[in-house]
Symmetry: none
Subunit: 159 residues, 2 copies
Amino acid sequence: MELPKVGSIGEYIRDQRKQAKISLRQLASQAGVSNPYLSQIERGLRKPSAEILNQIAKGLRISSQALYVQAGLIDDREPDSDVLAAVRADRSLTERQRQVLIDIYESFRKENRAAAPAGTEPAAADARPWPETDEADAVAQEAATSVADERSQPEPKEG
Amino acid sequence: MELPKVGSIGEYIRDQRKQAKISLRQLASQAGVSNPYLSQIERGLRKPSAEILNQIAKGLRISSQALYVQAGLIDDREPDSDVLAAVRADRSLTERQRQVLIDIYESFRKENRAAAPAGTEPAAADARPWPETDEADAVAQEAATSVADERSQPEPKEG
DNA sequence: GCGCCGTGCTTGCAATTGCAAACACATCCG
DNA sequence: CGGATGTGTTTGCAATTGCAAGCACGGCGC
């Protein structure tokens, strides 16, 4: 149970690198690791240490935690929808914004439930990076802008 | 220049272990690492990998992130606000979806900061990513910690 | 044709991780 | 006293990390 996980982190890194449109050597340079080693990491042949992981995260300009989670190093047993709790508890959001976030989140989960029946992970290896392609994406982007603009009628912040 | 930093993480682990009132061997057993190796880690003679760190965190019943921060692997002041932490930790999302949610959330907050600077914060961009309102702050803290480690957390060791 | 620069991959190799076994030192019990 | 049993530590050693050097393939200018 040790190598398969490494594979996922490798795929994830490579995916993110492709998304950033940079070469392996370039990322290696920015991350301060050697090119061949990064190559091996991406192909799941090597298991990078936390330090290397952190460097790569910096080179990719993504959160180290995202990488750790992907590497299964933070995957404690609370992967579920604490997101909803956090969103509901976030008072810096207007009611409308909150509802949008909840809506989007739930639509995502619904989507994933349909795609991945039981216990299977999404794996994030959709090869489809950032641009909107799915319905949910488009909806989300639209909702984000439209609702964000709607701040002109702020809510009383405290019921 | 081999292990200057490691000392702090070792001390931290030993400190936490003492606080938990368990022996070195006991923690080693619970964490699934060898006793001598844990001894060396605590004395800063060895630099544990992320996996080992994670296992030790589990053995100590503390959040892995706390250890990573101590190890200087996250010291990068990553903006970890409640919702963001929850979204990042949610493994039921694909990376794409995660990015969308994060993006939307941040755009909301940005809009709100521009619209209602509830307290006139000068440059909270680098210091504390947390909200300003006392109430909101408390709630957010609660949400964040509950997500970060659902189990009991005796003392987060204020840093 | 040839050389040059760009990509990613393979190959040894020093340095390090992480462990099993054994050690030193206490404490407790016969 | 002799011997368990507890603590943390030291000592080799296989396995692994991470790198420098070099390889193979491809595109571009001459």
